[in-house]
Symmetry: C2
Subunit: 352 residues, 2 copies
């Protein structure tokens, strides 16, 4: 097991069981709550339920899926805490993917103006995306993560054992954030990623640790995303719009799948705005397409995608805000471009 | 005008107009939103609408009343911000009483994970209660302020001019928090309060400044209410329960009216638990009854009141938590007592 120490909490990566036991032994919480969905209840809860302090924990079960990451589910969670008379010294344990972590963390951070929580992510995406940076929240009015807070957990416990129960599609989705970290900050990680042959036999700890170290460095330098943290938004301006749009379509996308498509489009924009070499863009596109295949972006919905991009909370003063690449492993924040060029990048994706 | 400087923002008390102008002149916000209800829209908005930077501000109007301080109104406010494409550099100006300040501050603190806001309280209660301490939130599942966050505004502007439009009943409600500050920390303020003859001719700035200084001292020492800040909860354990109960009755109470009744009950408890002299309790009861008259507490609803107290977020490990008085001007936190004694205190109130 490896420990990544942040300013005010630790992330444990690997075989987490002793660390989790030690954390619970040190605790003086009045009550324990474990937030699960039907999948993590079946596959993950048995693994952590064995701890003596958790035997009497109250289980709060919500339905899985991004579509439930909304204010109605928050109300359900707050009510469950209230009905169990959770006081300010209760602990919420979020056992699940990004939906559970983001929404459970938001509900804990706002219940009675904030109670403690820990994250036990169970998907690759949440391992790498939700465990650093304190971004918590829900989707609201069709816009992803548009209501939320910044707040840190007491600890994060990441164990690749949970990944064994995941479909390959989920692994692929999570991989997108690791790819992003390579592209924006670590050409060595990018080379390592290119050598992956089979997602089911990867040594995840060896990819997670460098990826988390990159995120740690960026987030500690700029916790509230005034500047350099925006680098982590690479792929996300276009990607979030595609994801939001697909949410209500018959063919919804996983977060990482949408970000993967977004990274291709924003890599194209980088060639136009920052003179990223065309060969680099081709290398990125080819690699991403090899892993993710191609999502059917449709010309007739371009205006919808743009409308969603314009609602993105990363924009300022009405301008679309992008992070782009000047080279593989180097990001430049606060790039803007006009709608026609964004449409051109969507067309580039379609024509690949 | 007097300025109370807190760690990270200023409170301006008196004639605020130049200070507000100076604040707005220094700003580089992308958009301005003013949250009002039908009353503050009619009576207060005209006074601040004259500033050139606010001429094009988007007005968000909600219905007045504690009953609207809920998650549905939050959704309405978040949607209004979203529809106006508010970005992270927008400013929310909360112009109104505690409902507007608490809920508007909560919505701003959670919209896109937090945008700036300022408070312009327009009631005596919000002048003294909501301008220091960063407590924001809404009522949820019948429990007051059970969902919220701690977060500070950029500035608070308190002008007694707004009090001139208030009914006497509202002034009386706000006075309860000033009385509380005298009782828990300042016997001199208590003596000053006892000399008030007519609420409509009081020099409010002279009462507000010492009251805010007490609150400032307590809150800066203990922002998250781990210890001494709990002193500010005097009167609130019983008072909140009475207020919550009355919310759905034909005879709802204003916050301060409920707290006034709560202070009488908790003063009685103080004589039993902390040996507060009986004469002091009689002095407090007589003064409060003179100002507030008597609210009809009913024996048959005692269990309801107790159930609501047990849901109070101030409790820990299932015990009712009180702040009590050892003397007038001296509070002791973390006092507990059993249900029969609490009922006795309710009976004491009834029999006064």
């Amino acid at each position: 097991m490896q420990t990544i120490a942040l300013d005010d909490y630790n992330i444990y990566v690997g075989e987490i069981w002793e660390a989790l036991q030690a954390f619970l032994d040190d605790c003086t919480y009045s009550q324990y709550f474990i937030l699960v969905d039907e999948n993590t209840k079946a596959h993950c809860l048995p693994l952590i339920h064995k701890y003596s302090s958790l035997k009497e924990a109250t289980i709060i079960e919500i339905q899985s899926g991004e579509i439930h990451k909304n204010i109605h589910t928050c109300s359900f969670i707050w009510k469950a805490l209230m009905e169990a008379k959770a006081d300010r010294k209760a602990l919420v344990i979020n056992l699940g993917g990004g939906v559970i972590g983001d929404m459970g963390g938001f509900c804990a951070s706002t219940y009675k103006r904030g109670i403690d929580f820990i994250q036990i992510p169970t998907t690759l995406l949440s391992d790498v995306d939700s465990s650093i940076g304190g971004k918590l929240g829900i989707d609201f009015a069709e816009v992803k993560n548009s209501v939320g807070v910044f707040n840190n957990p007491q600890a994060v416990f990441i164990d690749p054992i949970f990944l064994k129960t995941l479909p390959v599609r989920e692994l692929r989705s999570g991989l997108a954030e690791i790819i992003k970290h390579g592209l924006i900050a670590d050409a060595t990680l990018w080379e390592k990623l290119k050598s992956i042959e089979n997602l089911e036999t990867v040594d995840w700890t060896s990819l997670l640790v460098p990826s988390l170290e990159i995120k740690k460095k960026v987030v500690e330098e700029d916790p509230f995303e005034y500047n350099i943290r925006k680098a982590l938004n690479f792929g996300h301006t276009v990607g979030h719009a595609i994801e939001s749009w697909a949410l209500n379509s018959p063919d919804p996308l996983l977060h990482g799948e949408a970000i993967a498509a977004g990274m291709i489009c924003e890599t194209y924009l980088s060639t136009k705005i920052l003179d990223l070499p065309n060969e680099s863009a081709e290398e990125v596109s080819a690699y991403i397409l090899k892993i993710y295949g191609k999502y059917l972006l449709q010309n007739e919905y371009f205006e919808d995608y743009l409308r969603l991009m314009k609602n993105d909370k990363k924009n300022e003063n009405g301008q679309l805000n992008f992070t782009m690449l000047s080279n593989i492993g180097e990001a430049v924040i606060n790039q803007s471009c006009e709608s026609p060029l964004v449409k051109e990048s969507l067309n580039y994706y379609i024509e690949l």
